[in-house]
């Protein structure tokens, strides 16, 4: 089974917009809404840490809209 390889804050991939999940707890409430809606199943919630797989993520922005507290940004 795939496990997280990149934390949310790491380097952007060329030609892809950067995705930033604020998972240090300043905004994130670890509710799992982004995990449930991710169509590629590439966001992982592990108690108080959210990570996503940079390579799999297509920046579809669904998680940005699903986040109830605006903790996910795409730039």
């Amino acid at each position: 089974m795939r496990r997280p390889r990149w934390t949310a804050e790491v380097r952007p991939v060329p030609n892809k917009k950067s995705l930033h999940i604020e998972s240090s707890g300043q905004l994130c409430i670890y509710c799992g809404a982004c995990v449930g809606i991710c169509p590629l199943n590439c966001i992982y919630l592990d108690e108080t840490r959210i990570t996503f797989d940079e390579k799999v993520c297509t920046r579809c922005e669904v998680c940005v809209k699903a986040c109830p507290v605006g903790a996910i940004e795409i730039g």
């Binding site: 496990r3 509710c31 809606i37 809209k65 699903a66 109830p68």
Partner: protein, 396 residues
Amino acid sequence: MVPNEKTDVLVIGAGPAGSMTAKWAAKSGSRVLMLEKRQEIGSPVRCGEGMSKDWLGEVGIKPGRWINVEVEGARIYSPSEKVFEINEKHAGNEVGYVVERDEFDKQLAIDAANAGVEVRLKSAAVALLKENGRIVGARVKEFGETHEIRAPITIGADGFESQIGRWAGISTNIAMRDMDTCLQYRMTNVGCDVRYCDFYLGKVAPGGYVWVFPKGEGLANVGIGVQVSQVQNLADARTYLDRWIAAHPEYAKGKKIDMVGGGVSISAPLKQTVTDGLMLVGDAARMIDPLTGGGIANGCIAGKICGTVATEAVTAGDPSKEFLQRYEKGWRARLEEKLYRNWLAKEKLVSLSDETFDKIIEVLAGVKLEKLNVHNILKAVHTKYPEVTKEFEAFL
């Protein structure tokens, strides 16, 4: 090294659906192991804590200290705040409780444990074990150590963000229009009526509603669900909720003491909830009522069926997906018609304008309906605003 283990039924997730499944599997004679990834069952709470009560006897749940407030009815507020009251006369025994959800989950886990279920805390499934295309258990990380638990029947009761279904190859993907993003504050010092659960419809919460569930002594759960596809300008659920609270002085004076969020599926039922050696139950199986967003009752009702079928499959030595159709057919016979009907109603409701909501609630507030159902509601509205019901002819 933790040695590998064997059991008859492995339940992943100790929420209400998981505990209920585990309990009924154990009661019917299976050895059952139930995993909970957290250190505490029921916590943190991710729930509005309102629920109906007519189904509790069916699944064997006795009233306990998890009951917080017993309400007399529900009030539906239109955008211009016309009120329609649903009371016990309309809804029969459907009106219900505001609960302490962590206590409720714990009570169900206690019931399961007392029925013989072995409960493991701090135990997360990290992968499914597969053999010849069949699920035969899971790899489990318990207190940081990984070992394998083999079982002829594995149950995925791992909630809204279910991984088990996806790992097993069951399509549980959810579209933006099929999900509400939710946020709730527990507030003290608010001016709500402990006799009612209140619901506010319209553009204040596009594709969802604002709820106020009283918890007694000036305490209430004030929350919002917004359809993800209708979120505008990257506002989030918190923005919508804060805006609503600011516009309501009786809540704006309250103080927040707790905050929870999460996703709720408002989709039509899954096409498939079983595969060889595996069944999904509760939120993981998308059994949440798409109209109300409530998932506890359906999860528990399906859990009873799931647990019973699990034992039948173990006894028959046949965990194939053909055998597990007993569960698939059983839960659908009990729940699917209502789920589908409420999904249709929800699809219509999310498309209504504030003016239409106002007209409908105004009419309902003015007439005495004997029995509350879609047909009676539409008939009443039709007499005053025939143009409103034009779109609803399929229901009449």
